[in-house]
Symmetry: C2
């Protein structure tokens, strides 16, 4: 199996991406094609003392920067690592693609190059978040489709159900609709229409859930429009960071706190590991006709390695075939 990896994507590229690829080929049985600046990648591969032929390089002379407009950059930069990496998947030279680069550009290029799965109207980005039930919740969509139709949210529900079953190994995943109250009549016309469609579907739909229930683990799959989902993602990042900063500030402000902190370091480390996005690797882009994983811009080496593992699992478990069956069913 070959995973194409955008070596130039992310705040710490290409260093951590090349490092992540080197770690991944050792840990999982995959080959990696690093797409990007060939000279820089080869230099890094030497630094990481990579040997063997599990990693190959595909030169891409252009880079789509994080701040560039998605549609324009994808159209203009045909030789960027994102466009060329997806081409490899399209041509059957790679089984999946991972990028921690410009998310909008990856979504746009993937939809253009690979196309969507039959009957799927719009792609959606899904992210895994840990919850209090010592499990994970999948939130779809977190930003691919900010002005969706109700039918598209139903399709996110179906794809989320498939992801939970075949990738997360959950038997009968529950699906909840993010709303501002649990009662059926709550929310905008759009959300109420979604509720109706979901209730009629064959999904294990538990109804509306509120923002606070995402993390208590009320359901396995949370669906929402991409605007709201993106806000949820960033607010929860912001709150966790704020919490950590405040906690440190308060502890360091008192003598007792400073002493206590010493005892706490191991617990903090474990907590951090469990809520660390890097453990989950990347966010699958669902609905495109190919396996695509999107990484956080701040992805570190471990996140890249884990994203490659997630890509591999999706390929192995024939994720898109399962989606096709579910959509037709």
């Amino acid at each position: 199996m070959r995973i194409a990896v955008d070596a130039m994507g992310g705040d710490n590229a290409p260093e951590v991406v090349v490092g992540g690829a080197v770690a991944a080929i050792k840990e999982y049985k995959v080959d990696v094609i690093l797409v990007g600046d060939e000279a820089r990648i080869n230099l890094l591969l030497k630094e990481y003392r990579h040997k063997g032929n599990s990693i190959s390089v595909c030169n891409a002379p252009e880079i789509i920067e994080m701040s560039e407009s998605a549609a324009t950059s994808v159209r203009r930069k045909r030789k960027s690592s994102i466009v060329l990496g997806l081409d490899l998947v399209k041509q059957g030279k790679a089984d999946a693609f991972f990028s921690a680069g410009n998310t909008g550009a990856v979504v746009c290029a993937a939809a253009l190059s690979l196309g969507l799965l039959p009957d799927i109207e719009r792609p959606g980005i899904a992210i895994l978040t840990p919850n209090l039930k010592k499990s994970t919740s999948l939130i779809i969509d977190v930003g691919a489709n900010i002005d969706p139709k109700p039918k598209q949210l139903l399709q996110y529900g179906i794809m989320g159900d498939v992801y939970s079953r075949y990738i997360m190994n959950k038997a009968n995943p529950t699906v909840g609709l993010l709303n501002i109250g649990e009662e059926e009549a709550k929310g905008t016309d759009f959300v109420r229409e979604c509720h109706e469609l979901l209730q009629k579907s064959r999904l294990n739909f538990i109804g509306n859930i509120e923002g606070k229930h995402i993390f208590s683990g009320e359901c396995d799959v949370v669906i929402c429009d991409g605007f709201v989902g993106n806000v949820v993602l960033k607010v929860s990042e912001g709150v966790s960071e704020t919490f950590m900063v405040l906690l440190k500030r308060y502890l360091l402000n008192s003598m007792l706190g400073k002493i206590g902190l010493l005892f706490l370091i191991p617990s903090f480390r474990r907590l951090k590991k469990d809520i660390d996005y890097a453990e989950y690797g990347g966010a699958p882009l669902l609905g495109v006709n190919g396996i695509v994983i999107i990484g956080h811009g701040r992805s570190n080496l471990k996140a890249v390695k884990n994203a490659i593992r997630v890509a591999k699992e999706e390929v192995e478990r024939k994720f898109n075939e399962k989606v096709l069956e579910a959509i037709k069913g």
Copy 2:
């Protein structure tokens, strides 16, 4: 000054509401009219050993429950504590109203009974949240208006500016629009239209902000539609609670953690105090022709007391007159 208080509103009513009122009249120079079940209130006043005539009781035989539909309950329960409490404001018998009861019902009853300020199209609920700059950010709207027009968001910006100036004592408050990216072209058509209106306004508009920037304190006033704002509110509540639960779980799981916890208790207490909604009291309902403060359903005694203080400040500083000037200006 007389503040009408819904004695029956909130999960811990009437006990904590009566207790909060007793505490408030001692600490601030206000009179309170407790609206609700007269017999129960009088019994509680005795328990709290209240003496003097700073607290009076207005009997309300009906209660609007937390789960009831807002519009229906307000229409049917004319003798509920919410409807009668707002009537007191309308008739000039009270200067402001506070309720920790059914938020939808308070918004609906306030709009019906008091009406809106001239030129204001829709009311908005504003909440204060602490930020990393050791200050607070005001988020409007968090649920009164879930499907607003761009002009209504501009009006939230104007009212938030006035609130920050005259209640939070900020000199030249910055206003940010909650979006999924900082670039001007980001977001839905609705958000882009809001951006345009805000940019043309006289507000100190800093442009789009993302969810994570609310808590870093990027701006003094964050505006968004009520659906998104409500999700933000509940997600941040959910994340903080999850964080606390996880932290405790990890600490109690290790011997070192348990020892460390002992040293940390004072710091935790201070942190909790600073991020505790109860310190901020209540959320002002902006745009109605009268001063109305909405409390969290879980309001405790301190939250009720602080909400009465907030109501008093809004009356004293002639908040609605300032809004009128700003809207006309």
